[in-house]
């Protein structure tokens, strides 16, 4: 039981962001195609989500390291 919970937690940690980014960018791609021009801003944000995530990771990796805890 406890082991199953740990497994779920590590799966969420591993796949949470990749799935979220895929959903956001996929929704953005379809929204721009299916919805009218009023939805373009949201569509752009969705498609840009992976770029924002990459930018954040690059910025974070340059930050001085925090002591653990």
């Amino acid at each position: 039981m406890k082991q199953a919970t740990t497994q779920t937690q590590s799966n969420t940690m591993l796949w949470g962001m990749p799935v979220l980014l895929a959903l956001l960018s996929g929704t953005g791609l379809l929204l721009a195609l299916l919805a009218d021009d009023g939805w373009h801003l949201l569509a752009w944000l969705g498609v840009a989500a992976p770029l924002l995530a990459v930018g954040w990771c690059a910025w974070r990796s340059h930050r001085p390291r925090q002591p653990p805890g």
């Binding site: 590590s10 940690m13 591993l14 796949w15 949470g16 962001m17 990749p18 980014l21 895929a22 959903l23 960018s25 996929g26 791609l29 721009a32 195609l33 299916l34 919805a35 009218d36 021009d37 373009h40 569509a43 752009w44 498609v47 840009a48 992976p50 770029l51 995530a53 990459v54 954040w56 990771c57 690059a58 974070r60 990796s61 340059h62």
Partner: protein, 388 residues
């Protein structure tokens, strides 16, 4: 991560043997397609901005007509074109642009089939019916920068064989993406998302970049990869459509098919008008002339599109008899052509303004980094992989 030391994968529901198999699939599918994919990414970059570059390079003066001015008959423009190039064949008309009409001509359909560069275009002002710019025979067959990019991106100057080769490379790319996702879990293990280990080795940092960029842009890479493969199958798909749907519809008419001389064709303007009257709310795009290998030997084939974001991507064909000028009606679009039409915008990125194109260009550059880092990771690990 292609040729990495294989991590123990049991905790991730994947055993050592299958992990090795996936690593092999990822390594070889990506290595084989990398050179082609790099070419596609580099040539795709200017192609994303084709419209903007086309407008920028376009030296045709803009029309001085006030908005709302009625367009003149295209019959007069066709007559003017035939007068300009006597003995030539009208190949097709493009009427999509409100202010312009393009008349494509070729010495003959046979010549156009063997030498597509013999096809040339005359530009007309849609309101006055006069030449929008003087006909320039030297423009014919000139290889422009954008044409070069398009040829390298679609068929490598090798026609159908080139299209199928690039389509196959696209398929390998999709396989590389899927196998990359399978390998993502055992390689990331307990690392937080997007970690970039700068303090360790250069190889490890590039591995982290490869994993981060690949997994973050995965959805876009898959969409552009799959739709690219579908686009490369356009030629066989249209050929199948012409020989199935179109032939079946025209079986009667094609029995005594003889070429129709351009001088005996019924009014193309009336053909356009009757086709468009039958599909209200649609916008005419182009007219494929009878005898053109892209259409029917005995009919005008008129392409129209809708006006909403979705239907403006879906083109519908209508046939008009090339002898009587009678309307035959719409041709059925099979599922595979609907799929092809929808996969165009999703590959080109040209369907939601300039900002989407800029995002497309940035994602294209990221794809280049993923490709190059993949080759680097394989290269630096190679001697180790060769060890007993």
């Amino acid at each position: 991560m292609a040729a990495h030391s294989i991590p123990a994968g049991r905790k991730h529901g994947i055993d050592g043997a299958s992990l090795k198999r996936w690593a092999w699939v990822h390594r070889w599918s990506s290595l084989v397609c990398t050179v082609f994919l790099l070419l596609l990414c580099l040539t795709g970059l200017p192609l994303v901005f084709s419209d903007e570059i086309g407008h920028w390079l376009d030296d045709t003066p803009t029309s001085s007509a006030a908005p709302g001015t009625p367009r003149t008959s295209v019959d007069a423009m066709v007559a003017r074109s035939l007068q300009q190039y006597p003995g030539q064949q009208v190949y097709s008309l493009v009427v999509e642009d409100e202010a312009r009409v393009k008349v494509f001509m070729a010495p003959s359909f046979e010549e156009a089939r063997h030498n597509p560069r013999s096809i040339h275009v005359l530009h007309f002002d849609a309101y006055s019916g006069a030449f929008a710019k003087p006909p320039d025979p030297s423009e014919r067959g000139r290889l422009t920068f954008m044409n070069l990019m398009l040829k390298l991106h679609t068929d490598l100057f090798a026609g159908l064989a080139g299209e199928l080769l690039l389509g196959f490379m696209g398929l390998l790319f999709v396989i590389a993406l899927v196998s990359g996702v399978v390998l993502y879990a055992p390689f990331i293990r307990k690392l937080p998302f997007g970690v970039l280990r700068r303090e360790r080795s250069r190889r490890l940092l590039w591995l982290d970049w490869h994993n981060l960029l690949g997994i973050a842009t995965l959805c876009w890479l898959l969409v552009v990869g799959v739709t690219g493969v579908i686009n490369e199958l356009a030629t066989p798909m249209f050929a199948a459509w012409r020989s199935n749907e179109l032939r079946a519809l025209l079986a009667q008419d094609l029995r005594d098919a003889r070429p129709l001389p351009v001088s005996e064709l019924p009014s193309v303007q009336q053909a356009l008008d009757s086709a468009m009257a039958a599909q209200p709310g649609m916008q005419a795009v182009s007219v494929v002339y009878p005898g053109n290998p892209q259409g029917s030997s005995q009919h005008y084939l008129i392409w129209a599109k809708g006006r909403t974001p979705l239907t403006s991507q879906l083109y519908t064909p209508t046939l008009v008899d090339g002898r009587s000028g009678a309307l035959l009606g719409q041709v059925h679009m099979p599922w595979y052509l609907v799929g092809l039409q929808l996969s165009r915008p999703l590959h080109f990125g040209d369907y939601a303004g300039l900002l989407l194109k800029i995002l497309w260009a940035v994602l294209d550059l990221i794809a280049i980094v993923v490709l190059v880092s993949g080759v680097y990771l394989w290269w630096v690990r190679r001697p180790l992989a060769a060890r007993p």
